[in-house]
């Protein structure tokens, strides 16, 4: 619990006589105070996050339904049947594939748009603060509200996009963006990129502003054009942030529930794993199967992140 062991090793000369208790050192008091202050945080995290994670794994190996919940304890009979059922239910592989496409598309889109946004507002101009603030709007606004605005905007009957598309772009018929298989997934990915580009924008802008001015000035003196300066000066500076953002956004998007659930409800080929878990949990009230799906989701995610980290750290060393 405390740091007595290294303390004792470091100060053998200050041995106290064996009679009486060792007084508490300042360092020990600091350590105790630290643990006491951090305890509430740890308690909440362990109680509301840690225990549930372990529990999900346990549930995944048991036959639990909401109706039989009162009878099952923490450790019931363990079985693999949930995984068997989950992996062999039709559509599981499709869902996983959709989730992957969605996560990769959303991550790439949001970072690419965020990068462009960061580059254009980098230098001061009139109204910059306002532009910067508006660019953050999609990210701070409530997901339910923005999902509905998109739904209405893209609505085939009274949506602005279809109305203008027919009037100005010469579309023959309205496009049901969110309800036909050929466009739904792309629309959801576009929504994801739109909603989360501000996240990438914020971090990239912060990094851009920390790039020392001398670097670019030196390149300017050497006759580098703006695109060359971006390619050879700015981009290398930004790459670590981009790599980190890719990882964060991928993990976040891979688990995302709200956006897809609100936009399409998982219809038209947009069913991602978390929406499927939710449906197992509430519509079928099959807790065991839902837990098994969640565990599969987490494992797949950990594998992807592992591959990414491996690839990334390997390249860094080379």
């Amino acid at each position: 619990m405390t740091t007595t062991a290294p303390e004792a090793g470091r100060s053998p000369t200050r041995e106290r006589p064996p009679t009486g208790r060792r007084p508490v050192t300042l360092r020990q008091r600091e350590s105790r105070a630290g643990l006491a202050l951090v305890a509430p945080t740890l308690l909440v995290v362990v109680a509301v996050i840690g225990i549930p994670i372990v529990w999900t794994v346990l549930l995944a190996f048991q036959r639990v339904r909401l109706a039989t919940l009162r009878k099952t304890g923490l450790f019931g009979e363990f079985t693999m049947s949930n995984f068997d059922r989950v992996l062999h239910t039709p559509g599981f592989a499709d869902t996983l594939w959709t989730t992957l496409l969605y996560a990769v598309g959303g991550t790439f889109g949001s970072i690419a748009i965020g990068l462009v946004a960061a580059l254009v507002v980098r230098r001061p101009f009139k109204g910059r603060t306002l532009v910067r603030a508006s660019m953050l709007l999609p990210y701070v606004a409530p997901v339910v509200a923005v999902a509905f605005v998109w739904q209405v905007l893209l609505d085939p009957q009274l949506g602005l996009v279809n109305n203008w598309g027919q009037r100005f772009l010469g579309w023959d018929t309205p496009i049901p963006f969110l309800s036909q298989d050929s466009t739904a997934l792309w629309t959801v990915i576009a929504f994801e990129a739109w909603r989360y580009f501000p996240f990438a924008f914020l971090f990239l802008l912060a990094r851009l502003q920390a790039v020392p001015g001398e670097l670019e000035e030196a390149a300017l003196v050497d006759g580098a054009t703006p695109t060359q300066r971006f390619r050879h000066i700015l981009l290398p500076q930004l790459l670590p942030v981009i790599a980190l953002l890719s990882l964060l956004r991928f993990i976040m998007t891979f688990n995302k529930f709200d956006d897809v659930y609100l936009l399409t409800g998982g219809a038209a080929g947009t069913e991602v794993v978390s929406v499927r878990v939710y449906q197992f949990l509430t519509a079928r009230t099959d807790i065991g199967a839902a837990a098994a799906q969640a565990v599969v989701l987490a494992v797949v995610l950990i594998i992807f992140v592992g591959i990414y980290l491996r690839f990334f750290t390997a390249r860094k060393e080379a």
Partner: protein, 288 residues
């Protein structure tokens, strides 16, 4: 003209164009939301492409319908706003109560497991909420916490804690240790130092964290859906709005009025504190 000149001129114009494009895509949806919310549905059906409302057409009937209680034939949003307010404010205050000492300890005090704590927070921040949701659903069902706002507040605290501690920790680290040491020499205890020295200095950062927590809790949808869906009088604004669209008879203009009510507090808070918030969130990002 050489390549440099061509690029510079092209990029200058491209930049203006792109900024205009960004403004359009980010602001237009919100403007559209507002416009639709004050138009009668019949007018919208006749002319869905209009972005300006003739003055005579303006109506607030949509807002009246959304806000009126269910008994009066409305959608009961006043109750939802109250619920959301209670949940968001209590989650914010409790998160701060837990996060401030925690962040202080992580930034200042050497204790066993300090490095692991940092890692733990990152893991928590990134862990899929759907995985956590299942056992919480089970526990809350058994403990009778499902359908109570208390359970929701508890979950929100755990969701906002990692980022709150992280932001506060970064700020505490910028406060010179010497200030605290001189207070210690003057005889202040650990808690006295936190209360008299660190907290006043960290006030702007605490404000930013409070705003962040409030926004997360106000906007949250998934856990509200999971825990409160059976109890209409406990719905938050996000949940109430999302379930509003299930009713076929609710016109889109009313839906947009609800969306405006959900978005407005957040947008106002955000514009009032934009600088504070973005600096708080990205401080430390420069380190790479």
């Amino acid at each position: 003209m050489d390549r440099d000149r061509i690029e510079t001129v092209t990029l200058r114009w491209l930049r203006r164009l792109v900024i205009a494009g960004f403004l359009l895509v980010t602001v237009l949806p919100f403007y559209y939301m507002l416009v639709l919310s004050v138009r009668p549905i019949e007018r919208l059906l006749l002319d869905p492409g209009a972005l300006l409302v003739p003055f005579g057409e303006l109506t607030v009937a949509t807002y009246a319908e959304v806000l009126k209680s269910v008994e009066e034939g409305g959608q009961g949003f006043l109750t939802f706003i109250r619920n959301s307010g209670i949940v968001a404010v209590s989650a914010t205050l409790l998160t701060l109560l837990v996060a401030i000492p925690g962040a202080y300890a992580v930034s200042r005090l050497r204790f066993f497991g300090r490095r692991q704590v940092n890692f733990l927070f990152l893991a928590v921040y990134l862990f899929p909420s759907i995985v956590i949701a299942i056992p919480l659903f089970v526990v809350f069902t058994r403990a009778g916490l499902r359908g109570s706002l208390l359970g929701l507040v508890l979950v929100y605290i755990s969701q906002t804690l990692p980022v709150s501690v992280y932001m506060l920790k970064n700020y505490f680290e910028t406060i010179p240790v010497s200030l605290e040491e001189s207070a210690a020499i003057d005889g202040a205890g650990r808690l006295g130092i936190i209360r008299r020295v660190s907290l006043p200095l960290a006030a702007p950062s605490i404000m930013a964290v409070a705003l962040y927590d409030f926004m997360i809790a106000w906007n949250e949808f998934f856990f509200a859906l999971l825990f409160l869906v059976d109890k209409p009088n406990r719905w938050t604004v996000s949940l109430g709005l999302s379930l509003l669209s299930d009713g076929v008879e609710v016109p889109k203009t009313v839906l947009m009025a609800g969306s405006v009510l959900l978005t407005l507090p957040i947008v106002i808070l955000f514009f009032a504190s934009e600088r504070l918030l973005t600096e708080g969130l990205t401080s430390g990002a420069e380190k790479g």
